[in-house]
Symmetry: C2
Subunit: 232 residues, 2 copies
DNA sequence: CTTGCAGGATTGTTCAACAACTCAGTACCG
DNA sequence: CGGTACTGAGTTGTTGAACAATCCTGCAAG
């Protein structure tokens, strides 16, 4: 038998599918989902006992899940007080956009060396948003918008950057919930995304980069504005 | 009493000092330390029972600590098999340097808007390395070198980027252990760092950026080379 | 040389207990 | 009335034990 039969690599790829995950991880996945979709709004206290009883898992298992989400900054852990869904302040927004600028402009700058299909993936997300908008499916528009930006950082082809971006985006979703009007928050960006996607397709990376910069400036300002409204 | 007495902010800064940390976190800190200093070499299996007995903590607490380090990629967790100190492969090295390029060149590009003291902090780390080298304190040289790069990304003034960089660096330390000769691995970079630091001080950010690019190319190549030696 | 099957060892998860701590309410005191 | 100290209930922090599920090793059979 040869050391490298063709089917070996094939099966190795399926490895992750069969990797069973621990209860703690599934609990964390579930909580993460609930948090980013807003079912557990920022500030919510998650008591070990009630959450454990609700999900039918032991306190120990739940605590493992909490640790995971605390590490992702979706929860905050206060010693002897419990865990709470994170409440972002204005400084967090500023820092998240700072981080996005680093990741997304670096990715565009790397564009010339990126695979063509990665650029196509960016375009595809804009198209999804463009189709969802006329049907007023603003949640889908928002999701496509986020995936657009993840596709941009995907240009780098770096698993670690993808992971970092995933977390940044999850954290930002905590802030998006303050936006009361989904249409006003999502619709204007479709056009901006279309512009950036077209520029990337045409290979005009420098212009795409400066467009992305202004995109981020605008989005950050709008979000901070909404924050100030609330704090008032 | 005014809402913003001067001492309030002062004490708020000391908050973290008095924040007691959980046993799990302290265990994680300790293990992290041992891992990055090489006392627990990559591939080592950490059994829950022996580790728990050695540290006098319960299995549950230990598992919480393991979760943290798995999340930081310093440990890998194989279901029903246990946790192991991560073994980096060549792809990991490539991706880590890809990530560093993103972070460090972005930081330098942001240099013109950075505080002067942050640039001074970069210079200071080079100076430390320059003093340690003649005394053959290669461990200290290596540490200063790493802190030099952290100071570079510190130009961005972003807590999240700092955090990301901390993890990237910790992960890279796993790879550094394959370098048998500390002198050959650390000494040549002092001069490169000095060059970059001087350029930053003089405000020549464009040149500093391209120097950083080549620094990273060289370091990556040297590390990959050492890896191939081992794999052979 | 491969396959199948114990047996032992380790991890996954739960449960119960107690210590340590927070918080709200209350009594006390000036 | 305002502030302080204290008490008790409730929650979290941590441990230890228990059992199920799984992996690994070694051996026997084909």
């Amino acid at each position: 038998m040869a050391a490298t039969d063709p089917w070996v690599d094939l099966l190795a790829g399926d490895r992750s599918l069969l990797d069973r995950t621990s209860t703690a991880e599934r609990v964390a996945d579930l909580l993460r989902q609930r948090i980013i979709e807003g079912a557990l709004p920022p500030g919510t206290r998650l008591s070990e006992e009630s959450a454990g009883r609700a999900l039918s898992v032991s306190r120990n298992t739940l605590r493992e899940a909490f640790r995971l989400l605390v590490h992702e900054r979706l929860l905050v852990h206060e010693f002897h007080r419990g865990v709470f869904v994170r409440v972002l302040d204005a400084d967090d927004i500023v820092d998240l956009y700072r981080t996005r600028r680093v990741l997304e402009t670096s990715a565009i700058r790397h564009g010339p060396r990126a695979d063509a299909e990665r650029i196509a993936a960016i375009d595809a997300e804009v198209t999804i948003a463009e189709k969802a908008a006329p049907q007023e499916r603003w949640v889908d528009v928002g999701t496509a918008n986020i995936r657009f930006h993840q596709a941009v950082t995907g240009l780098l082809g770096s698993p670690r950057v993808d992971d970092i971006m995933r977390r940044v985006v999850a954290e930002l979703r905590l802030a998006f919930h303050v936006m009361a009007r989904p249409r006003e928050f999502h619709e204007p960006y479709i056009e901006l995304n279309r512009g950036i996607a077209d520029l990337l397709t045409k290979g005009e990376f420098t212009e795409a980069e400066s467009r992305m910069e202004s995109y981020l400036d605008i989005a950050e300002a709008q979000l901070l504005d909404a924050y100030r409204q609330i704090a008032r």
